[in-house]
């Protein structure tokens, strides 16, 4: 199975945010809101960190 980086990231974020939401919140509405917040945070942070690392050299990488 080969997933793209973004698909793998999105699946990871979806599963982890679901578990976090169910563990930390008790009301279904709160769980949904917190789950969406954690999911979007995962995606946003990954994209931002990815762009921050973009200018860095790939050590040892020889195309």
């Amino acid at each position: 199975m080969i997933l793209s980086h973004f698909t793998a990231l999105a699946l990871f974020a979806l599963i982890v945010s679901t578990v976090f939401a169910l563990i930390t919140k008790n009301e279904p509405r709160e769980q949904f809101r917190y789950g969406v917040f954690v999911f979007l945070s995962f995606i946003a942070v990954a994209v931002v960190v990815g762009w921050l690392m973009y200018p860095l050299p790939l050590s040892g990488y020889r195309p």
């Binding site: 199975m1 080969i2 997933l3 980086h5 793998a8 699946l11 990871f12 599963i15 982890v16 679901t18 578990v19 169910l22 563990i23 008790n26």
Partner: protein
């Protein structure tokens, strides 16, 4: 004014219903079951929906990790990171031993998604530890 509204809202909100605390041996038995079979602890407590969602999440993540040719760590004391990886993997319970038995967690470093797969396998074990702790709190009447 806002403060008063908050007070009124909280007054109308029904108080969360806590379970009557179970005795410790039963709680530990339930938690052990939840560790071995992800989601089982919540099913035994009676939290069906939560248990099924947890089971689906952990097993899906484990399956994706194996499918992405991730690595499952064996018990080794040589490298501390390998040992921590083993502790994380062990959290998945029975699926870990099943995968080890069938050599599914060998890990193919040249596979494009190897690194993601390894992280999926580690994190699903860690999530299961959190799920077991959640079941412990519910069984002890600390949360609804």
């Amino acid at each position: 004014m806002d403060h008063r509204n908050e007070q009124t809202e909280s007054a109308h909100k029904p108080a969360p219903v806590l379970m009557k605390p179970m005795n410790m041996p039963v709680t530990l038995a339930i938690c052990s079951g939840g560790w071995l079979v992800p989601g089982l602890a919540h099913l035994l407590i009676g939290k069906w929906v939560r248990g099924l969602i947890f089971a689906a999440c952990v097993l899906l993540m484990f399956g994706l990790g194996i499918g992405m040719h991730g690595k499952l760590y064996d018990l080794q004391f040589g490298d501390p990171l390998d040992f921590l990886g083993f502790v994380a993997n062990l959290g998945a319970g029975i699926p870990y031993w099943v995968a080890e038995h069938f050599d599914w967690g060998v890990g193919t470093m040249s596979w494009p998604s190897f690194d993601y797969g390894t992280k999926f396998l580690a994190v699903c074990g860690l999530l299961n530890y959190l799920i077991v702790l959640d079941a412990f709190d519910i069984a002890q009447g600390r949360k609804p």
